[in-house]
Structure formats: structure tokens, C-alpha cells
Amino acid sequence: MRWIWIDKFIEFTPRTSATTVKNVSLAEEHLHDLYPDFPVVPHSLLVEGFAQTAGILVGEARNFAEKVILAKVSRATFHRLVRPGDTIHFIARVDQLSEQGASTSGTITCGGELVGEIEMMFSHIDQNMAGLEFPEHNFVFTEQFTELLKGYRAGGVVTI
């Protein structure tokens, strides 16, 4: 399974904000695991989708030179469920950014309705965990994630 919970970017303002879209399909296996007779997207995966949106925004701010990891979910409040057939938007903004990390906040919406409100912190682990061993390569921003942003910048046109 590909651990990627956003489909595409529809807005990206460097160091400021980003919006992504996720289309929820009944074909996704995880929908059948939580409540077999009542498929819903678990809140934890909505948090992950927001984290991927905000994480790419934070990583791009320093040209993906840092290993950016989700360090803290300061707040996650949910107001409604997300179900198969829904199209959701993850709307993230950078509140503060330093060489050590960033704080972000934003919302998840569906058809104009508020699904959730989230605040989360990201850490640049090479700046904060000196002495701990991490791989030399940037294992956070794999090709899967960087390709998403390239697709947005190319206007969604993919050339082969």
C-alpha cells in the first residue's frame, strides 16, 4: 500500500499556505476495517493527510534540505465524519518557521463544511536531535511526495 493520503495540490504559496484534495473511494481497504458495516475515514488518517500537506509545505520552505517529521499534534478537533464518495480539502498554513522546525495550523473541509481543525508542529530532526543517528539521505521526502508538488507546478500536466 502506498502511504499517501492526498491526491493533488490545488494551491501552493511557498512558506505560507497549501491546499490539497483527497477523493475518498470505497475501494480503499482501510474503510472496511474500522466499522465493517459503516465505512468512514478514521480521524487518524485525516490527521495524516493534513500532516502530508503541511509537511510538504514546511519541507519546501527550505528546499527539502531538512528531514521534516511530524513532532506534535497540538490540537485536532473533528466536527463530522468523512465517508466514501466525499471529496475533502486539506488547507494548511505555516504559522511560524525557524531553523529547528515549524508550527502549522489549518482546516479539513468537505463540500464547504468544516470537518476538522488542526494545529501541528514539525521538527527539522537534524537540527534538534544532534547525536542521534539518521540516514544521510532525506528519507522523509520520498519521490511519491515530491512528485505531487512537481505535478502542481507543471499545472497538472504530466509529461512522459
Binding site: 506534535k72 497540538s74 531553523e99 508542529m121 521538527s123 534538534n128
Partner: protein, 133 residues
């Protein structure tokens, strides 16, 4: 107009309640950020960001906390070498944490002990010094 110490304390208390998810009553002047309020390493960055926001009254003159200036765990190599405080580092900790019991730190010079010593009133002291109030 300069903020009073009580006003600074009230803002710091609000920041810690939001950042650490603790009750207002738990945030006392002598409460240790780690031992009493349960702060973990990322919380120190979160607190720094929230303090910058809370004490910025004029967006054209943001209240900034340079790296290493507030929290001792970020002391630079002038102050810490191979996990041990240098003479200059030990003097700096005494200056920054005037309320703390530093006997064990004086004896071991182990920099890992420092975050446990940092208390709420040390943040208030820092903000008060920085604002010159």
C-alpha cells in the same frame, strides 16, 4: 507601556496551558517544565513559538527569541562540550536559573540535567529582562 511582572506571568501561564495541555492551576512559578508539567523536547520549540506570538504587540516589530537564548538545552559549544558544561556554561546556567537548586549540576556538570531545572518563573524572568520591564 511596559508590562508588569503579573501581566507577563499571566501570558506565560496561558502559553504553557495551551502548549502543554495542563490546567492553569498546575502552572505555578516554581513548577518545573519537565518534571511537573510534562514538557518533552518538541514542547520547548512550541513554547518558544507561542511566546513570540503572545508578546508581539506590533507586527512590524515582532518579539523574537533567538535560538539558544531562552532554553538551556540549546546551549552552544561555548557552554557545552561532550555533554559537560564548561566554566562559562556553568556560569551562564547560574545567571539564567537564579531560583534553581544547582548543587547536583555544579557537581556533575551534566548538561542533560538542565531541562529538568527550568521552571515557569525562569521564563517570566527571561521575558521581563528582554522586555526591559
Amino acid at each position: 507601556m511596559a508590562l508588569s511582572r503579573d501581566e507577563i506571568y499571566s501570558k506565560v501561564q496561558g502559553v504553557l496551558v495551551d502548549a502543554l495541555g495542563v490546567d492553569e492551576d498546575d502552572v505555578t512559578p516554581t513548577a518545573s517544565l519537565r518534571a511537573d508539567l510534562g514538557a518533552e523536547s518538541i514542547d520547548f520549540l512550541d513554547i518558544t513559538f507561542r511566546l513570540e506570538k503572545a508578546f508581539t504587540t506590533d507586527p512590524t516589530k515582532p518579539f523574537k527569541i533567538p535560538r539558544g537564548e531562552l532554553f538551556p538545552e540549546e546551549l552552544n559549544t561555548e557552554f557545552v562540550q561532550e555533554g559537560k558544561l564548561t566554566d562559562a556554561g556553568l556560569a551562564e546556567v547560574h545567571r539564567r536559573l537564579p531560583h534553581a537548586d544547582l548543587a547536583k549540576l555544579d557537581q556533575t556538570r551534566d548538561s542533560a540535567l538542565i531541562p529538568d531545572l527550568f521552571a515557569v518563573q525562569d521564563i517570566v524572568d527571561y521575558i521581563q529582562r528582554k522586555l526591559g520591564s
